[in-house]
Symmetry: C2
Subunit: 249 residues, 2 copies
């Protein structure tokens, strides 16, 4: 499809990510609703100037410290993440010492397996939450969205949720888990409910998060905790909103 | 899919439209990229409060007058429009005395025919731009996007483009055509290039446009022209931006 788009197109980078996603759809990783969700993200990224803000970097730094302080962190992976950021998320898993768990809004055995295969192909050593392994249930959620892995999200203290649904983010918060969200919409429920929200495109945010982890890995726990304590999610969200407002003038 | 979404979901209406689109995708009307484009629209509609603004109504009124004054108006229909607004667009075609032309970014014979069938099924009497009928070419555009019907868009003086690509909108403007766009992103190239931009969801905008046509149909041409002259697209776009900025506080 990208072949039909001229190289002079003003939004080429965004189109290349889109192409990856459409490709992921064709290969059974991405749900139809995942394509729509991607479009929503595109709109917000466009309003953010398709750039990582200083406030997103603050959140990234706090997320890195939180992950390094976590006892049992986990990274939730859906079809869009696997299609666009498979290698990045595996890198993050390694440096954050956090396993990957397939966690889908629309569960579907074939899609779960396709995502698992994709992650294994790019170097993941283990993938939680696939098929019968998603045998535990989150409270207060309907049907398929409840299912999680009893070795993974169920028992984790910190959950990284790139591109998460608001209801599910809320259910995790209610269970007392710390949530690190990556969400381009600073007004979303996930963004406002999370402990740390990185308002940035996952293709920029996840590599930054890996970098931040490497950079602060040698700090003492006390220093890491200081980074976490200094971060104010409400303020960071308000600042992201300001950037979008600026784009509207 | 909508079955999995609880009735208490805060964005049910938007989810129902999404369901229609996904359905249209399954039936071969909508391209994968159309699903993504819909997501972008959803984000802007969300920022507009999912409501029709007074400025969108002004644009609608001007669009109605422009259509009634047109010599050879035409309505461009893509897969998303057919999936979400087939009956509405046929109604508009009737009252505006403007034929429907299938006009796709990603041309594909099967999809063109599926859209034609859908429109005929819902009561259209004729559909331009399908298969070999799209034998004319717009200047300054690459490949498949150039193709138009020589009886339709090529010779029209006024073109209604709900959900149009910026390049193509520009090509039409360069040919001296008056463009009426329906576009939820007031910052898009299509929105800024069009003579009249209705910044609204097509599911609300098209019925409003039909209503406006009925209401002003009996005015004299001079009175209709007055409505057109009074409308200022730049101002209306700025006002829509203001609404979105308001949502950001």
């Amino acid at each position: 499809m990208i072949k039909q788009v001229p190289a002079t197109h003003p939004r080429l980078k965004s189109l290349i990510i889109r192409e990856k996603l459409v490709n992921g759809f064709t290969r059974g990783l991405v749900a139809r609703e995942g394509l729509i969700a991607h479009g929503r993200g595109e709109a917000f990224d466009y309003l953010l100037g398709e750039k990582t803000s200083a406030f997103a970097l603050d959140a990234t730094q706090a997320a890195a410290a939180t992950l390094l302080l976590a006892k049992q962190p986990i990274i939730s992976v859906n079809g869009n993440v696997a299609a666009v950021s498979a290698t990045d998320i595996i890198e993050l898993s390694k440096y954050a010492n956090a396993p990957l768990e397939v966690n889908l809004f629309y569960r579907d055995k074939k899609r779960e397996q396709a995502i698992e295969r994709e992650l294994l192909k790019y170097g993941a050593t283990k993938v939680f939450g696939v098929g019968p392994n998603a045998s535990a249930r989150l409270p207060d959620l309907d049907s398929e969205r409840r299912k999680v892995d009893p070795r993974g999200i169920l028992v984790a203290d910190v959950v990284v949720v790139p591109l998460e649904d608001g209801d599910r983010a809320e259910a995790l918060v209610k269970m007392g888990k710390k949530i690190i969200a990556i969400d381009l919409n600073p007004l979303s429920r996930t963004a406002s409910i999370a402990d740390i929200t990185i308002v940035d495109n996952i293709t920029r945010a996840i590599p930054s998060l890996v970098y931040a982890i490497k950079r602060i890995n040698n700090l003492t726990n006390k220093e890491k905790q200081k980074i976490v304590n200094k971060f104010d999610n409400k303020r960071a969200l308000a600042k992201s909103l300001e950037i979008i407002r600026g784009a509207m003038t």
